[in-house]
């Protein structure tokens, strides 16, 4: 399977990202061990210049990471024709045990990467590099994640056996099936829906609160994370049903297909962007206590919060719209 060009591209990108992070980490360690902001020595000047390289490497690495996440899902979708029993990405991810972990790891790296970029941006606003130690340690923490993703992905692609009959969304996401996916699919929409709506309202309100008052960033991040998870569960539990207009089709990937007007992208992209921003707000708002960053935090936090609020609203509007315009009526069944 490694000779499929899209797979080659994915493996190559992961390897490149891993290399870039390795390079950045190496420089970061050098910077951390000799850093002395008060010195005007040539070495300090060299190290300060090196921070530009580290930032650039990581900006690109994390942009590539985002693209690779998209390509990974898109590729899984398009490979569904090559496996017996696979109708969409779910089936392809189910081909072996590594598919889902790879996807979740990619998502994890995406979120940590986004947070790192915001942290880096904030640090660049302070004239004394106040966060340099934290952000460079964070790179060292992200590196194993990226390496793990590279390995898992390689395992996933090399262990793809076209002879294996995989189970697709119909089997995995059904209330009868075992495991997490089955449990989520079996969640009663009558309870899921109010939770989804309430958490949505809470996260948007807390976002507006943070944007206006510049405090409570951690709460916004917490709610954002929770809203993200509940939103994904809700997509499986009931939103997808309305999109497919089918009372038992719970798949979170089929909504990405052209047959459903690619509405999945309209749901996922704002959701992911909003969650990344909300998490970043949570991570940067505590640094307001550092004098050289107070002004910057006061400027950046509201801005990011507003954008996050807009994206969250967009997600909830699209979700509401797809439920509203659906021909599926479950009122008699669920209520």
């Amino acid at each position: 399977m490694l000779l499929n060009p899209a797979i080659m591209a994915l493996v190559m990108v992961s390897a490149v990202i891993c290399l870039m992070l390795l390079l950045a980490s190496w420089f970061a360690v050098r910077v951390l061990s000799h850093w002395d902001i008060n010195s005007g020595s040539e070495r300090q000047l060299r190290l300060e210049r090196r921070t530009y390289l580290i930032s650039t490497l990581l900006v690109w690495a994390f942009s590539f990471q985002l693209m690779s996440l998209l390509l990974f899902i898109y590729n899984a979708e398009s490979m569904s024709g090559q496996f017996v029993g696979a109708m969409c990405a779910t089936g392809v991810l189910n081909v072996n045990a590594w598919g889902w972990p790879t996807l979740f790891l990619k998502m994890g790296v995406f979120f940590t990467g986004a947070v790192w970029l915001v942290l880096n941006y904030l640090d660049n606003q302070g004239h004394d590099y106040p966060l340099i130690r934290y952000k460079y340690w964070l790179i060292l923490a992200i590196l194993p994640l990226v390496a793990a993703e590279l390995i898992l992905q390689l395992l996933y692609f090399t262990n793809m056996d076209p002879a294996v009959i995989t189970s697709c969304c119909g089997a995995l996401f059904s209330s009868q099936s075992e495991g997490v996916a089955g449990e989520i699919s079996g969640l009663p929409p009558a309870q899921m829906m109010p939770g989804f709506v309430l958490l949505g309202a809470a996260v948007i309100l807390s976002g507006v609160w943070v944007a206006k008052r510049r405090q409570g960033g951690w709460l916004f991040a917490l709610l954002g994370g929770a809203a993200f998870i509940v939103a994904l569960m809700s997509v499986v539990s009931f939103i997808s049903l309305y999109i497919y207009e089918h009372p038992h089709h719970h798949c979170p990937f089929c909504i990405l297909k052209s047959g459903h007007d690619y509405i999945g992208y309209l749901l996922y992209l704002p959701l992911f962007a909003a969650t990344a921003l909300a998490l970043s707000v949570g991570v940067i708002s505590p640094w307001r206590k550092i004098t050289s960053l107070t002004l910057a935090v006061d400027r950046i936090v509201p801005r990011l919060s507003w954008i996050a609020v807009v994206f969250f609203s967009l997600f909830y509007l699209v979700a509401a719209w797809s439920v509203w315009t659906s021909h599926l009526t479950m009122t008699g069944v669920w209520w």
Binding site: M1, L2, L3, N4, P5, A6, I7, M8, A9, L10, M12, V13, V16, M20, R49, Y52, L53, T56, L57, W60, F64, M67, L70, L71, Y74, N75, S78, G81, Q82, F83, V84, P162
Partner: protein
Amino acid sequence: MLLFLRKQKYLIDYTLSSLLRRKGKSLGLLAVYTTIVFMLASVTLFTHALRKEAGLMLQASPEIIVQRMQAGRHAMIPADYLQRIGRLRGVMQKAGRLWGYYYDPIVKANYTIMTEGQSDTPLTEIVIGTGIARVQGLDVGDYLTLRSQSGEAFSFQISALLENDSELVSADLLLMSPKAFRRLFSIPEGFYTDLVLSVRNPREVNKVAEKLSQLLPDTRPILRDEVLRTYESVFSWRQGILFVLLLGSVLAFVIFAWDKASGLSAEERREIGILKAVGWETADVMRMKFWEGMVISLTAFLIGYLAAYGHVFFASASLFEPVLKGWSVLYPQFRLTPYVDGLQLATLFFFSVLPYIVATIIPIWRTSIADPDAVMR
């Protein structure tokens, strides 16, 4: 936001004028870059279109083909097997097919012969693909002589040529009546090459195949979906092989790009020095260089991709002809149906633009950290 956009606009303006000032160097890079994109894009577009074409072709073919096996080899199947199959749940239609290959020693080519029509179709009329017509210099009304199994020569009058649209499939195709086919190849009545079954409900295909192998133990059922799956992986595998071959040139391109980005002329170095001295910051210079890369990448990608598109869909991938001709003397002069998808574009991007960006990160950084006071020394 507006401020940010205006800054970027100034940087892009500057980078454009600086690219134009160094036409030679920019054009050299652009040419190599475009070639890389062109080659990769040609391969992807071509194999994708072939795969699509094959898929479309198979779409029309029956769900199940039953072949009789004898001593591990394909053998003629008796017509009464159709009766032996009897009524299977889900099978909508069943029929026997006659087809085969004919080697023409004059042009050293294999024709695919299929049968068409009922027993009342005139014995001596055939329809041929344009590939055969071209090689033999034939047209409608002309005669084509084929030697039969028993050594006799049969002359057929050509009643029509197959349409160009499907030439990829039909270049080497020859259609004749079943009766003529049996005469030509000495196949007795009551035997077919294989049987075809059509099954409406895809879920029932596997069940039907299972029953068939019980009913007719000396046959093997070939499922269309299985063929499709094989095609899918074979085509992506072929494409992969070509990509691996091209990877060498991508690597060469990476080295070239690295070299171009780090080997700045004295004049360019001075220019960066001046920019830094008059108030550009390292990040500004890096952003300016980033835009330079974007401008070059976009241009190369666009030109390379469009050229590949023209090459594959209008010029019938003529550059690949010598390679592909190995298949058959009757190289089809086909027009592929244009087919573009996002995955293809993304893959292409990852194989061309991404290597370029990665290759230039460190050289750009090295250029950009020039001392602002260097021009005073």
